[in-house]
Each structure stands twice: as structure tokens, then as C-alpha cells.
Subunit: 246 residues, 2 copies
DNA sequence: GTCATCTACTGACGGATCGTCAGCAACTTG
DNA sequence: CAAGTTGCTGACGATCCGTCAGTAGATGAC
């Protein structure tokens, strides 16, 4: 490990290469843009290289087990060198983190679906089913990155734990709101905690989506799985039994 | 993912409630005992050393992030050398795998609970609640090893994927049987697939148990979480709303 | 065009970890 | 105690990581 560095604000870049103060600011993203490892602001060419590296990472994360992702491979495949990679990202995780952040921005749509759509009667079940489908589709689209998120979170990487929260929380809160909103019209037990119920639902969705292929391996059809989840979501949110014919 | 598998469609569990025999035929376990890396059969002293190594692994897996578990540390801490470790285990995972297998033998109790207890009326809810509690307790007791199992499975390690199945399958099948058994007395929809529903329930239990700490971090009480899950389990198995007062 | 001064890139290296193997130590047996 | 078997480990080659000094490329002034 490197010794602790004095966190110093970057002086104008006019210093000779003799004593280069390496300032690794909290994130590598500045107010207005990003910084390379040496603190300089990348220009056109630099950003193009960074982007190329990102795309290559995105591609290789699909085809390679996470633990086998080597910086060397990504860099070489992108037509550059490992040292260049480290110019823009402290490690492979950091690159994937950027991909995860881009992905996270698409999540609120799911929450909106929960808030916008009706939860009454038959339409309520349709909402539940649509949510489950959308969730599964989302997970499928981003499965490579999401697997790394799960993995890194389980390994205790706080950067990914944070992203995971950003991902799942909007949906959890939306569901909790929906449940709370049903307190009036439906008869939920008094001791029901909406956030707990919502969290459980999201945990279910996330784990099933993540192990989708495990289910299929056991001969369980995805249709049946999603239908089961839709019913559970519907019942948990509304407190009503789902319509029987569907 | 994996190439298309011959999906031998699981016959709708008309199978008898036969107990699942746990055949723990791992690679390094012979018909009569174990073999060291060089093929020799360990004697008294050798097995003692192996055991010591195992215990040390079990201890360190609790205190150290999985990825930071070094063979050197385990070996030195156990008062021996890295080379000796490799005499008995091909890698750290292999040692943990043994721990996981020991753990897996305790699981059928949960399945038995599902099969033995009543699912009718109030007692049915109690069964669900007891199952959830037992599951959470099990996960808590073995959380260190289970986290590695989840982790290694996510990383694509087949040895652990297998163990994970051995762990979750008995319970899933037991739940599926219970659901199937309710077809007569209760009014489940015709298109309900018991295995799918059971799989969803187990996925929910596993993920919530695994992220228990995360729930608490968000201020969600474990009591509320378990109650939510108990209700979901009860409703999914019986098709009935749970008793309101509880 | 050439020089000055940036930015961008990389070969090469020190450090760390992994898993192996030849050989020494300890124990058992006759 | 000599021979044979089992158990242990120091030392080593191989591999991967992240850094840094220094080269190459771009840009702009004159």
C-alpha cells in the first residue's frame, strides 16, 4: 500500500517532474469534470482513451468471470497499455463502478411505475405483474454489471454497497409508499411495517432475477416464477388475494 | 451463461416425500477416507494437522473478508507452513467447502419442519413463522461460511454452486410439496407451479437473511422483516390470508 | 518550420502472492 | 538401531499488480 499522502490542493500545473504531488482526491470526478491519476484534467484525446477503456471494460465484463478480469487484458484489448488504464481508474472495480452509476440512473422508472399505476382490483395485479417483468428485464439487460455489484458488495466493497443502495432504495421506498397508501382502503394488519415488507419484496425480486438461470436449470419456467412473484407483490402491497383467473 | 441444458422438466412433484440422501462425495474424499495431495493416506498426526487447519480456517473466515484470506496466514496461525496446507487442500476454497458440507448436513431439519407441522389455520401461520425464524437463525449461525458460499457461487465456482443446491433444495422441495398438498383444501390458482413458488420463497428467505445487516442499517427492525416474510410464506403456501391478530 | 510547453502514453521495474518440490525430520516397525 | 513410511517446510519459479521516469504526440506562438 502507498503511505498516506498529504491531501493538498493542486497547485497550477507548472511544477517540474522532480516533486510531483500526487493528489488522489476523494473521487476522481471533479465538480466540472474528471481528473487523471496525476491530477491533470484530461483533454480531448485523454477522454477518448478513457471512454475506449470503459467500453472495453463493459464488453469484457460480459464475457469474462469478474475475478479473471485483468487490467492488462482490458488495456491491451483496447489498444493501449496497463499504465494508461491506471491513469484513469485506480482499479478495475472503479471502471465498473462508472458503468454501474450509468445504469443506476435508469432505475427510477421502476419506482415511478409503482407510484403512477393503480393498485386497485384487477389493474392492481397488472401493476404488480408489470413491475416484476420490468424488474426482471432490467436485471437481464444489466446482468453482467449487476453481478459484479452483488459480488463486490458481498466482498465488503463500500463503493458498490453504496451503488446497490442507490439502485434498490428508490424502488423500496416507492413500494413502501404504495403499501402505506393501501392502509386506508385495505385491511393491512396494524403491526405491518411498510418498509420491511417492501424490503422483503425487493430482496425477493433481486435474488430471483440474479439466479434466474439457476431456476431454469431446475426446470422451473420463468413464466411461472414471475407469476408467483407478481402474486406475492400484489398480495403484499394490497393485502388482497390476486384475481384467480390469470 | 452456460450453454443450453437438456431441461429435463422436473415432473410436478408427485414424488414421495423421500428424504434427500446427502452424498458428500467430494474430490478429496475416498471411499474409506481422505487423501493428501501426494496421494498418500494420512495417519493420525496428518489428520490432526488437517483438522487443526480446518478449525483455523473456520475461525479466520469469521474475522477476515474472504478475499483477504491467505493460505499463509491460515497456515502460520495454525502453527504450520503454507506447504503443509497445500498437502491437505488444493486451495482455501476447498477447506471452506468442507466446512460448508458439514453445515449442509444440518439443513434437512428445516425441510422436516415444513413437512411435519400443520399448515391449517392459525397453526399454519405459526409454522410459517417458525420456519422463517429457524431459517434466519440458521443463516446467522453459519453466516461466515454462507457468505463465502454465495460469493463463490456468484463467481462461478461450481463446487460451491453444488453445495448451494444441496442446501436450498431440500427446503424448496419440502415447500413445494406443502403447496401441492394445499391444492385440495385450499383454492390455489390452476396455473400455480409449486416449485416456482417455493423457489421464490426460498430466494426471498436467503437474500433477506444474507442482507440482514443491510436491513437493520436502514432502520428496519428484524422483527418486522421476519413477520412480513412469515405472512408471505403462509399466504403463498396456503393461499389464505394470515390471521390478522399476530 | 521550429521551438516551447503542454498532454498522453508506455517499458520496465520492485513488491507481493501463489503453488510446487526436493529434501529433511519425525515416527513406526521389526 | 536400521529401514521404511509419513509429515513438514525452506526455497524457488511463475505470475500479477501498480508505479514511475522518461518518451512520444499535440498545440500554439512567432
Amino acid at each position: 500500500m502507498s503511505p498516506a499522502r498529504p491531501t493538498d490542493s493542486l497547485p497550477p500545473s507548472a511544477a517540474p517532474p522532480a516533486a510531483v504531488p500526487i493528489v488522489a482526491s476523494a473521487a476522481d470526478v471533479d465538480e466540472e469534470g474528471l481528473r487523471a491519476a496525476d491530477g491533470r484534467v484530461p483533454g480531448r484525446r485523454g477522454r477518448a482513451t478513457r471512454q475506449k477503456l470503459l467500453e472495453q471494460t463493459a464488453e469484457m465484463v460480459h464475457s469474462t468471470p469478474f475475478r479473471d478480469l485483468k487490467v492488462v487484458d482490458i488495456a491491451r484489448q483496447a489498444g493501449t497499455s496497463p499504465a494508461t488504464f491506471y491513469q484513469y481508474f485506480p482499479d478495475v472495480e472503479a471502471a465498473i463502478l462508472v458503468l454501474a452509476e450509468e445504469m443506476a440512473q435508469q432505475i427510477p422508472e421502476l419506482g415511478a411505475m409503482v407510484q403512477t399505476r393503480s393498485w386497485k382490483g384487477r389493474a392492481g395485479y397488472d401493476t404488480a405483474a408489470a413491475l416484476v417483468d420490468a424488474f426482471m428485464a432490467f436485471w437481464e439487460t444489466h446482468r453482467a454489471v449487476l453481478r459484479v455489484v452483488d459480488l463486490a458488495t458481498a466482498e465488503g466493497d463500500d463503493r458498490f454497497r453504496k451503488i446497490r443502495s442507490q439502485l434498490l432504495n428508490p424502488l423500496t421506498r416507492a413500494l413502501a409508499d404504495a403499501i402505506e397508501g393501501q392502509r386506508a382502503t385495505s385491511k393491512h394488519p396494524d403491526d405491518l411495517d411498510p418498509m420491511a415488507a417492501a424490503g422483503v419484496l425487493v430482496a425477493m425480486l433481486a435474488n430471483v432475477a440474479g439466479h434466474r438461470y439457476g431456476f431454469e436449470f431446475w426446470g422451473i419456467r420463468t413464466v411461472d416464477t414471475t407469476r408467483s412473484m407478481a402474486r406475492i407483490v400484489h398480495t403484499t402491497v394490497t393485502g388482497q388475494r390476486p384475481p384467480t383467473d390469470s
